[in-house]
């Protein structure tokens, strides 16, 4: 993966660089920021996270398993306790609920890991230690032909440092 990285100190400069890059369509843009900023989200206008699908599927699997294990094991050893039905829906709702939360949450985390592509062994091309501190970064994945145009654009937007990455 090769491209150009711009390091910014100011949020508004970063936002204008992203907007310009999107207009010019020089390549895929990755934005780095020390924290979540809605200004950046608006400028990037990325797709919705699909993590919610993992949550839904995990929750449904969990609740199904919770009810199933309680009902199946009660039917397997049908001993009446407390004068209640062998498969008692009300107490088993507690098991269903707890397992739904457990599997739903773990599926959510799995969804986040898979979609964020973590864990990864290295921080890869285009990362700078300053992005976890106080600086913002914009990386454009592009070939050498478009690199100088990208460099000019980033400098013009107010990048503190611009460098080619490979």
């Amino acid at each position: 993966m090769q491209g150009v990285l711009g390091v910014f100190h100011h949020l508004d400069s970063t936002v204008s660089a992203i907007e310009e890059l999107k207009k010019k369509k020089l390549g895929d843009v990755t934005v780095y920021s020390p924290t979540i900023r809605h200004e950046l989200d608006d400028a990037i206008a990325g797709p919705n996270s699909v993590v919610r699908r993992y949550t839904l599927i995990g929750g449904l699997l969990g609740v199904s398993f919770g009810y199933w294990i309680a009902i199946w094991s009660s039917d397997y050893w049908p001993l009446v306790t407390g004068g209640k039905a062998i498969a008692s829906w009300i107490p088993y709702t507690i098991i269903g609920f707890e397992v739904m939360v457990l599997v739903g949450c773990l599926a959510t985390v799995a969804g986040m890991f898979i979609n964020s592509r973590i864990p990864r062994l290295t921080t890869t091309v285009g990362y700078d230690d300053r992005f976890s501190a106080g600086h913002f970064g914009v990386f454009i994945e592009c070939d050498a032909n478009k690199a100088s145009q990208a460099e000019d654009l980033l400098r013009h937007a107010g990048a503190e440092e611009v460098r080619r990455e490979a």
Binding site: H10, L11, V51, P91, I94, C105, G111, S132, A133, G134
Partner: protein, 468 residues
């Protein structure tokens, strides 16, 4: 060690924390957040002394456990009819402590409460360690701890399955889910902060450890997008979970016919009590931390004021529940219930009930005074009283009920043995040992979320009010 900023002097009267710009007036930029929070990781003499005391206390409990395993459960102070004592009291106490952490990290996150940011990491860690502590007590209580896995449903050669209609099995599901989710929630929030530590760390061994823990986090837009969504869903799941867990714990009592237990008010009463005691423990740990780590400009008097209002509110809910229990007993016309509640405040265990009422109902009323709500010393002292009062609340629920059931021949007493006391001391040692280890290895405040409320730098300040 980098220098930290001096706190802004605050007056007795201050604003409520509603908007981001009044939260951290003394914090200027992102770099200062990194500097100040990383500075808390330095080892100090006070920390070593605290850790040594915690380990000694923990060893008291560990020794008692070895002794009890060797000599049997009879070494605990149980005597018929009181066959639940300190272990169940302390179990409920620690589960309750854990609840404030999830309330702060999940429920207040969904409600966008401004005062949450500075205290939630410590509260989340407190939750994990409190639930770890609580989880030990049912295992200790079963007498043969190596058999505890029989409570978990798994295919086995005996073809046996747990009784899913038993509140004790519900507890196993609720507590284990709660511990797993609380730990996951804590770890997910820590990932971006581990990346900060990874990038700042100069010691190669620690850098390597933080690199592994940060999972290669890069702060990219893709990562933040999925992180934000996952965090939201974890909070959304944790909110009903936190309400369910202490409701399930209350079912351990409410599902029985024992006088003083069989009441439908128990789930909300237990949840309110748990939040109340948990916030008190948040004060017990954050007020000294605020002073020793020089974090007064992060945990401001406004933050303490806001938490004090939650404590005041939950104290009133708990107080109301105490009084309604007496009303229910009177209105039910059930003689054993009426007898029991009279006995609660004027009988054998009157002193425990009055300690509970004093610490949980009377003393928190001082928080109607804004001056006291903004006095860290008073809040710390009050937190100790509330911790004491909430332990006695569980004592009042467990012991007087079991010692004074329906028939006079069933009545009896309970005297905790030295084993019980050693376990109680040991539980505090175990909890504080983990917490003290945590505060020196991981950021006690969420660096990423603190940066969210600090104004970033703007080149063009028109309309932003940012810093150059």
């Amino acid at each position: 060690m980098a220098s930290v900023a001096h706190p802004v002097r605050e007056g007795i009267r201050g604003p409520n924390i509603a908007s981001a710009d009044v939260q951290l007036p003394a914090v200027r930029d992102y770099e200062q957040v990194d500097r100040d929070i990383i500075a808390t990781l330095g080892f100090t003499k006070k920390w070593f002394i605290g850790l040594a005391l915690a380990i000694v206390a923990m060893l008291c409990g560990a020794s008692a456990w070895i002794y009890q395993i060797y000599w049997g459960l009879g070494q605990a102070g149980y005597e018929p009819p009181v066959m639940w004592g300190n272990y169940i009291i302390t179990f409920v106490f620690w589960v309750g402590i854990g609840h404030a952490g999830t309330l702060i990290s999940a429920i207040l996150y969904l409600f966008r409460a401004g005062f949450r940011t500075s205290i939630y990491r410590a509260a989340e860690a407190m939750t994990v360690f409190a639930v770890m502590t609580a989880g030990l007590f049912p295992i200790i209580h079963i007498g043969r701890p190596w058999k505890f896995f029989w409570l978990i449903p798994y295919p086995n050669w005996r073809l046996l399955w747990p009784n899913f209609k038993s509140p004790l099995v519900w507890d196993v599901f609720a507590i284990s889910t709660y511990l797993t989710i609380s730990t996951t929630f804590l770890f997910i929030g820590l990932i971006p902060d581990f990346a900060v530590l990874r990038d700042k760390e100069t010691n190669p061994t620690r850098k390597r450890i933080y690199s592994i823990l940060s999972l290669g986090w890069r702060n990219s837009d893709r990562e933040w997008r999925h992180f934000a969504k996952a965090y939201l869903f974890l909070a959304a799941f944790s909110t009903p979970l936190v309400l369910s867990v202490h409701s399930v714990v209350s079912f351990d009592f409410a599902m029985g016919l024992t006088p003083g237990w069989h009441a439908s008010i128990f789930p909300p009463y237990f949840v309110a009590g748990a939040i109340f005691s948990g916030f008190a423990m948040v004060w017990t740990i954050t007020i000294p931390m605020r002073k020793w780590f020089r974090l007064e400009h992060y945990i401001t008097l406004n933050h303490l004021d806001a938490t004090a209002k939650v404590v005041l509110f939950t104290s009133m809910v708990v107080g109301c529940a105490y009084l309604i229990e007496f009303f229910i007993a009177w209105y039910s016309s059930v003689r054993p219930e009426q007898e029991f509640f009279w006995n609660r405040v004027f009988g054998q265990w009157w002193w425990a009930a009055w300690i509970m009422l004093l610490c949980n109902m009377a003393l928190p009323m001082s928080l109607w005074s804004q001056k006291l709500r903004r006095n860290p010393t008073w809040l710390f002292v009050l937190s100790l009283f509330i911790n004491l009062g909430m332990w006695f609340e569980r004592f009042v629920i467990v012991v007087p009920s079991l010692s004074h059931e329906f028939e006079p021949w069933q009545w009896g007493g309970y005297t905790p043995s030295w084993i019980d006391m050693a376990f109680l001391v040991g539980s505090f040692g175990w909890f504080f040992m983990w917490f003290l280890l945590f505060v020196k290895q991981m950021p006690v405040m969420a660096i990423m979320e603190l940066k969210e409320i600090v104004t970033p730098r703007f080149k063009n300040t028109h309309g932003h009010g940012g810093h150059h």
